[in-house]
Amino acid sequence: MATKKMAIIATKGTLDMAYPPFILGSTAAALGYDVQIFFTFYGLQLLRKDLSSVMISPLANPAMPMPVPMPVMVQMLPGMESMATMMMKQKLKKHGVASLEELRNLCLEADVKFIACQMTVDLFEFEKSEFIDQVEYGGAATFMGFAGDTDICLFV
């Protein structure tokens, strides 16, 4: 039987939206899939050596469960984003959910291939030295080359 394949496009760079690509990528690899994740636009933040700037904001995020209801005016205040991120990280830890770093490392150990979109790297004037060494660079045609032959293809 041919090896199954999965491709994911990761376009978001917030803490909550960083989880699905790494969870699905590491799980699919554990199930024997050949996996590629294509990081573009804000998803590029997930390839940084240091992931501490990946945050979650309660602002414009009405579905986010909060310990106490919080008016939008309060959510705007300085420091609220850091606080929400700290609280979310504590919650993740308490429930035994792996950190982003751990999940990303599990992906890399399982040979999940990370492709950074060259166009958006140039657009945001990122330096390749800001990203982890295992990243490869390519464009839409590179993604199609792999995605066209996959069993599962997701846009996150």
């Binding site: 969870i23 590491s26 799980t27 690899a29 554990a30 199930l31 024997g32 429930h95 035994g96 959910v97 792996a98 999940l103 599990l106 150990e109 399982a110």
Partner: protein, 75 residues
């Protein structure tokens, strides 16, 4: 049931029990049995799905005191 290796996945959430099971099996030889202990109720369905998709038979599973114990045979 006899087993060759034990994986303590207590306190871990999805997808760690599955990913760690895969890693543990990778270090074992064919026909050896891995015992996995998990506290994640989601791992009941996930472990069965893992076994089915990877072809490593799930020999048995039991639940006691909020813990789930799986015996997976390496194919």
């Amino acid at each position: 049931m006899n087993f060759d290796k034990e994986l303590n996945a207590r306190g871990m959430s999805c997808p760690l029990p599955i990913v760690k099971t895969k890693k543990a099996l990778a270090e074992m030889t064919s026909n050896q049995v891995l015992k996995v202990i998990s506290t994640d109720c989601g791992s009941v369905k996930d472990m069965a799905a893992f076994a089915e998709q990877t072809g490593n038979p799930l020999l048995s599973q039991e639940e006691a005191n909020g813990e789930y114990v799986f015996y997976v045979k390496k194919k």
